[in-house]
Symmetry: C2
Subunit: 249 residues, 2 copies
């Protein structure tokens, strides 16, 4: 039985609590949040506390708090837990605990329940035995387990910004254009789905279509006239140029 | 029985031929392409021709050729067909034929076979009877049929550039970052899928996450240092600013 203390009950922490509370061979021994009221929802799952001094030893502490709070938190609980793993994409492996690890679920978590079985878990540890422990845990809850170094994880997090945040901003701009013209954004759903699915089997660079790729200057000029703000026009120009530069190489 | 002549056997034309050749109440009477060799693949489906002068009358001509070629083509065959519909997203309703229509399938067509039943068909016509004819046809092959004016279609096409071409460029950049760092792009698939699925139920603007939204300047500075070209840095800066401006409003 792997005993786990969960530190933090935000988006990542609460999803981890949900999935780990139903995982065989795992016991959540304690749940921590510095704000007492945020622990209410978890009282039926495990003992909760808002006091660092109340934390009791377990095999592993999983830390899911804001990046800035991670290092000081690990320092203050380093003596209690043999292994401390954080769940941040952008922070390196910390060195304050006895054994240090990273347990980074690469997914965009909202309130919605996620099928954890499909969430890539990116792991790192400062020794083989610690890696084995978190790898065993990871494989219990997901089929997508990867060993990723701190250096790689930095780039992975950057790639995720392009693949998720910037992509989502493109969706938001498309949705804005639809709304302003009484068009149901739903019309674009199949296209969005097709593009997101296509890149699983076709390199994105080969999947490209559209006026920029075709060097269709007339259509691009017409599009620029339809856009209302300088920022929208700048994005259209820059991304069209990026497509053309990508395909020049 | 609706008799249809298909003009053009490119990506859109060939997908239309494939689906219409299996549609009840529809008969493909002739298939045209100006390049004879490109008709080979369709000879078993219907009579083919590379000569405009060989075209025979049918209830409807569906034109799936390059935008620039559409207007002259319609003029040269206007007397042969009672209804001529083009399939372009960016061209307005033409006025050269007896009855004019638009039959625009909003999807990114590659070689891959598409489930036409899910392809939004955006229709327009210069009179009610013509619209009825193409609407009946559209409903035979897709569950997603929309009436869209020329003006709306222009914006829809622009929105599709953001939702598809620019999004795909974001995927390509993420994939490039992964490849340069020995990271399997597959790690990002669930995230990409989740984001594309989420916008079906959550407005994209509400689905946004990430360092730009959080005003996490330190992470953004670190990301900028990891990017290798001035163009990549410019895209990162501009889209991060766009996210922040979008969420300031």
């Amino acid at each position: 039985m792997l005993e786990i203390c969960i530190i933090g009950t935000g988006r990542v922490g609460s999803q981890l609590i949900r999935v780990l509370s139903h995982t065989n061979g795992v016991k959540i021994t304690q749940i921590y949040n510095r704000t007492k009221i945020k622990l209410k929802a978890f009282e039926s799952i495990a003992p909760t506390t808002s006091e660092i001094s109340d934390l009791k030893s377990a095999n592993l502490a999983l830390i899911a708090v804001k990046d800035d709070a991670i290092a000081p938190l690990i320092s203050s609980i380093a003596s209690i837990f043999p292994i401390i793993a954080h769940t941040s994409g952008s922070l390196g492996l910390q060195k304050h605990a006895q054994n240090n690890a990273v347990f980074y679920p690469l997914q965009s978590f909202s309130q919605k329940e996620i099928d954890f079985n499909q969430v890539p878990l990116c792991l790192e540890a400062d020794n083989r035995q610690t890696l084995d422990t978190i790898e065993n845990l990871a494989k219990k809850i997901s089929t997508q387990v990867y060993n990723v170094t701190t250096e790689q994880r930095k780039y992975l997090h950057l790639a995720a910004v392009f693949a998720n945040n910037f992509t989502n901003q493109m969706y938001a701009m498309a949705q804005k254009i639809c709304q302003a013209n009484n068009l149901d954004f739903e019309i674009l759903h199949p296209l969005i789905q097709e593009t997101a699915t296509k890149i699983k089997t076709t390199p994105a660079i080969e999947a490209q279509t559209g006026p920029a790729l075709r060097q269709d200057t007339q259509t691009m000029q017409r599009h620029l006239k339809l856009l209302s703000t300088p920022e929208e026009k700048e994005i259209y120009r820059l991304l069209s140029r990026a497509i053309q530069n990508t395909h020049k190489l």
